[in-house]
């Protein structure tokens, strides 16, 4: 058996160890994706095979936390898919305006880029004062970074273009303060964001909300896990609540397909039926 084929057996074992010892469950993640991250860390740590990594994982807590970080980190952008935010303004804001208070759950918020985008949008629509955004992730380091709200100058250029294309109403630079090579987001945007640790795989419903945004998180999961998390979302939404998925994610393969109607199918915005 070649080295490559052995690792096929060893990766599931490694994920079992991660789960049993550290409580993080990656066993139902997309395999190609997990494999890529494990192989990258193996190369960086100078480990020759997965079994060496297995023993390091058991005996070296510092290494374990690095690996957990590798497996759980996700990247995102502000106003990623400007067309989505445009549709949110046109098709969803009028619905939200009818509520006296608005609860939004941003599930899998990573380093917070999209939560800040949402806060900006709600501010511009005059709704932020009665909005609470629960921004959750299971990666505490990512959450800490999100809370700080500091982003590199380099990425802000890209975000500015996204913002403009999304129908932004102000100058994007009015939402942050520049400081050498980074920017810090305005305090007023953070005011109604509640950052919290929540694991979509192992934790349950924690609030009843009007809108859930979970974009480009489910693509990392296998079908069973996608279904399970969709159930969690369904149980967290009020009747008539809005579910927003990533541009390549759909309800098509889930049990809940018939429980939602389209608000904007192209932008993957759905409404829970009454």
């Amino acid at each position: 058996m070649k080295n490559n084929d052995i690792s096929e057996l060893e990766i599931p074992l490694l994920l079992e160890t991660v789960y049993k010892k550290y409580g993080y469950d990656f066993r139902q993640y997309s395999e190609a994706h997990i494999r890529r991250r494990i192989m990258n860390r193996m190369a960086m740590a100078g480990l020759v095979d997965v079994s060496k990594m297995q023993s390091k994982l058991l005996n070296d807590e510092t290494f374990a936390s690095i690996l957990l970080q590798d497996l759980s980190i996700t990247v995102t952008e502000m106003f990623r898919d400007p067309g989505f935010y445009k549709s949110l303004r046109e098709n969803v804001i009028p619905i939200l305006k009818t509520y006296p208070f608005i609860k939004i759950w941003h599930a899998g918020c990573a380093t917070g880029e999209e939560a800040y985008s949402m806060a900006i949008l709600m501010q511009e629509e005059g709704l932020y004062e009665r909005t609470t955004i629960y921004a959750t992730d299971f990666n505490q380091q990512a959450l800490n970074k999100a809370k700080e709200g500091i982003f590199s100058n380099q990425t802000i250029k890209e975000y500015t273009t996204n913002y403009q294309l999304s129908g932004g109403k102000e100058s994007f630079s009015s939402y942050y303060t520049s400081n050498y090579d980074s920017v810090i987001m305005n305090q007023s945007l953070k005011k109604n964001i509640v950052w919290a640790n929540h694991n979509l795989v192992t934790d349950s419903v924690f609030a009843e909300v009007h809108l859930i945004l979970c974009r480009n998180v489910l693509i990392y999961f296998d079908k069973n896990l996608q279904n399970k998390v969709q159930r969690l979302f369904y149980n967290s939404l009020i009747n008539g609540g809005i579910l927003c998925l990533g541009s390549k994610e759909s309800l098509r393969f889930t049990d809940l397909y018939d429980e939602y109607s389209d608000v904007d199918n192209k932008q993957r915005i759905f409404k829970k039926k009454y």
């Binding site: 395999e31 190609a32 994706h33 990247v75 693509i219 541009s247």
Partner: protein, 190 residues
């Protein structure tokens, strides 16, 4: 060899290259083709429709969890990495750019070798960065067939030249000859 899939990496100059390649593949061409084309993250991939009109085969954007079927040509969606799982379905991720690119050719090629082992054909075409070099090397290491466009015939020679500098591929050919070779391989399979 029983080749089960063809993966192609292409960057600048890709539109013309793909037009040449796909307009001459016959309707009964059966090996599925999966392509990473470097493209603006905000592209709406309307060009796939245009390409589809010129081809005998069905060309479409790869969908998340979609099963790979014979006779189809799949193209990576903009701003996502495209990967192949062992059960021959697609996975998408928004992981960081690799070689400044998302989608990255290396990411597709490396996952494809895990899924198809040596029953894989890797093709590197025109382009102006070195994405695909690591991936094609990996395909060769796992026993797959490697084809690189002759840099002299490429609209942008950098990418195929970079791949040739890293490995001794099975074939270095013009686009027309690559098409002919693929048709021959597909016929032998039947």
């Amino acid at each position: 060899m029983n080749y089960e899939a063809i993966v192609i990496g292409v960057s600048s100059g890709g539109m013309n290259a793909m037009k040449i390649l796909f307009s001459s593949l016959p309707m009964n061409f059966s090996i599925p083709i999966i392509i990473v084309q470097h493209i603006s993250p905000r592209s709406d991939n309307q060009w796939i429709k245009l390409l589809n009109d010129k081809s005998n085969l069905h060309i479409k954007e790869a969908d998340e969890k979609e099963k790979i079927e014979p006779g189809n040509i799949y193209i990576s969606p903009p701003n996502y990495h495209l990967m192949i799982e062992k059960d021959k379905t697609f996975s998408l991720t928004i992981d960081e750019r690799v070689n400044y690119a998302r989608p990255s050719i290396d990411v597709l090629f490396e996952s494809a070798t895990e899924a198809y082992k040596n029953n894989l054909i890797g093709v590197v075409l025109t382009g102006s960065n070195n994405d695909g070099t690591k991936g094609i090397k990996r395909i060769q290491e796992r026993g797959g067939l490697t084809i690189i466009q002759n840099p002299e015939t490429a609209e942008s020679s950098y990418m195929p030249a970079s791949a040739i500098a890293a490995i001794k591929p099975d074939y270095i050919l013009s686009l027309e000859d690559i098409t002919e070779l693929l048709i021959k391989i597909d016929k032998q399979k039947k």
